[in-house]
């Protein structure tokens, strides 16, 4: 879109329901609401519906089986199709692309789109902003070419870009598998795939996979892909350091103990030109917090999550939250919760009953996800990977040592550490360093941390966007 087009955008748009996020949760809610005749506006930071999990290529490109996709993505494609059906010219759904939400109040969502300041006015709000990769600082993690596991997925499945020739995949949790298969689909050699959890710990997830037909089918599919390509998942291994001149050229890998602490003497050097690291996911909760939703700490679900009632309603009666923002659970959870939230809104607005099957479906998916992800909850010992001179805050170039000094001098709260050394005060607003900063600075190896402080703008936007914000 050119600037000329952008200036023709209405400053204010209106909808019965405003949805943040066009992933499975947002799409499921939007489709149900649209089918009932409500006008729905969906704000998404990307250019196409699907979210991170069902990333689509840019318009005009097609993945005709070039990049293999797991069986669960069939359901995703069906959902995208019905969403896009409702979103076509004059349909009940309007998808606003490239929209960064920077403030929210009851019935109002302010966003920046292509440099233009806009406002969505709506009755109900459904939050489905998703999640992002949990990063654990290690020496060399700032080198270009070292990215998150999610970044590689976006690269391959979202843009058809080949990340490199020799890739190393490290981290923990079920998302390592799709990262590996996407790389294989792009013709990249996967030199190693390292899961920090031990096989014993991961086995705790086995029952929840074995007794859930879709997850079982999914796991079998991944195993087949890995086996076919002679890629072996190495349990109890991770990356210790990355090295290179201006970009990553090699990685030091090694074994970790059952707490994630690196084991000396197990190091090996491996050549690679791209590294994807994903130690689970962190829920995006700031929009919900700004709107007044309560939060609670659930390590199994990735940290601080929004609190919702049995129909996905937050403490604010007109604000609903679905999917990862209520804790990491995956696409099936998000979809079931999106469906349920939409049904509850239809009862509010139209007096329609909420089918009990929707409630039980959402609960069953959530239970299955919780029991699977318990085996991959963050390993606190991984915080030992960072050395004193390792940068922990990438925005402000703050080393672990400086964060430690700050905590010793100013106190161990997030706020004290930030004020003392500026860690977490850069443009990512502590989204990247926050989940591990307190553990880094205090040496207390915990994955718990203070509730994030919500500030406006919720993401950095141009000052003109804030000054020219429509009312």
């Amino acid at each position: 879109m050119t600037s000329a087009d952008a200036t023709q955008l209405d400053a204010v748009i209106e909808a019965d329901v405003g949805i943040v996020g066009a992933g499975p949760g947002g799409m499921a809610a939007a489709v149900r609401l649209a089918a009932a005749g409500l006008r729905v506006v969906v704000l998404d930071e990307g250019q196409r519906a699907g979210g991170q999990i069902y990333r689509q290529l840019p318009e005009g490109m097609q993945n005709h089986g070039v990049i293999q996709e797991p069986p669960s993505h069939d359901a995703g494609h069906d959902l995208i199709q019905s969403f896009e059906g409702h979103a076509q010219g004059g349909g009940a759904i309007e998808l606003v692309r490239g929209a960064t939400v920077w403030d929210a109040q009851l019935g109002r969502l302010w966003f920046e789109q292509d440099g233009v300041s806009r406002l969505l006015r709506c009755g109900h709000i459904v939050l489905a902003p998703g999640a992002y990769d949990r990063s654990i600082p290690f020496p060399g993690w700032t080198l270009p070419g070292v990215v998150t596991a999610g970044a590689l997925q976006v690269m391959v499945r979202g843009f058809g870009v080949v990340p490199g020739q020799r890739a190393l995949v490290v981290g923990s949790g079920p998302l390592l598998l799709p990262t590996v298969t996407s790389l294989l689909g792009a013709g990249v050699e996967v030199v190693a795939a390292l899961e920090a959890s031990s096989r014993m710990r991961a086995l705790r997830a086995a029952p929840s996979v074995a007794f859930h037909a879709a997850r079982r089918r999914e796991a079998m599919w991944y195993m087949k892909q890995l086996w076919r390509n002679s890629v072996k998942l190495q349990w109890g291994w991770t990356v210790f350091a990355c090295e290179g001149d201006g970009r990553v050229e090699r990685a030091i890998i090694g074994k970790v103990d059952s707490h994630g602490r690196p084991r000396k003497g197990t190091e090996r050097t491996i050549k690679c030109d791209v590294v994807g690291a994903g130690f689970g996911l962190v829920p995006s909760i700031e929009i919900g917090m700004r709107l007044g939703a309560d939060t609670h700490m659930l390590p199994v679900r990735g940290g601080h999550c929004l609190v919702v009632d049995r129909e996905q309603r937050t403490a604010v009666p007109t604000v609903f939250a679905v999917g990862e923002t209520c804790g990491i659970g995956g696409a099936e959870v998000a979809r079931a919760e999106g469906d349920l939230a939409a049904a509850a809104i239809l009862r509010d607005l139209r007096g329609l009953p909420v089918a009990s099957a929707l409630v039980s479906q959402a609960r069953a998916e959530r239970r299955a996800a919780d029991s699977m992800l318990g085996a991959f909850a963050p390993l606190p010992g991984l915080h030992d990977l960072a050395r004193p001179d390792t940068i922990v805050c990438r925005c402000e170039d703050i080393t672990r040592l400086r964060a430690e000094e700050s905590a010793a001098m100013h106190g161990e709260s997030m706020r004290a550490i930030k004020i003392g050394c500026r860690a977490g005060m850069g443009p990512c607003q502590a989204r990247i360093c926050g989940p591990s900063l307190q553990a880094m600075a205090t040496g207390v190896n915990t994955c718990a941390m203070d509730v994030p402080v919500v500030q406006v703008p919720l993401k950095p936007v141009r000052s003109e966007t804030i000054l020219n914000a429509p009312e």
């Binding site: 840019p58 005009g60 490109m61 990049i67 080198l143 990215v147 843009f159 870009v161 990438r394 402000e396």
Partner: protein, 93 residues
């Protein structure tokens, strides 16, 4: 070595410059992905040390891939390329 996955179809060519160098991109590319496919993985110099940085999250969260477009710092992973766009390295020069 980076590049494009074959067999997914091609799109219209978009030419822009990064640090004065011409880069061929495809319509629908973000700046970050066009540069990565071109082999340019470092796009920013870090704020105090001036170290090379590139994409970390590729989904608009980390702000590590900031570049300059018309004097404004933008996330190269969420900003689409436009013909003739002049993109400068982000951060310290």
């Amino acid at each position: 070595m980076s590049g494009r996955v074959a067999g997914l179809g091609e799109r219209e060519l978009v030419v822009f410059t990064f640090d004065g160098q011409e880069v061929n991109a495809w319509q629908g590319d973000t700046i970050a992905m066009a540069l990565w496919a071109h082999g340019q993985v470092a796009v920013r110099n870090s704020s105090s040390e001036g170290q090379p940085r590139g994409v970390l999250c590729n989904m608009g969260i980390c702000y590590d891939c900031l570049v300059q477009v018309e004097g404004v710092a933008v996330r190269s992973c969420t900003t689409l390329v436009k013909p003739g766009m002049i993109v400068g390295r982000g951060g310290k020069s």
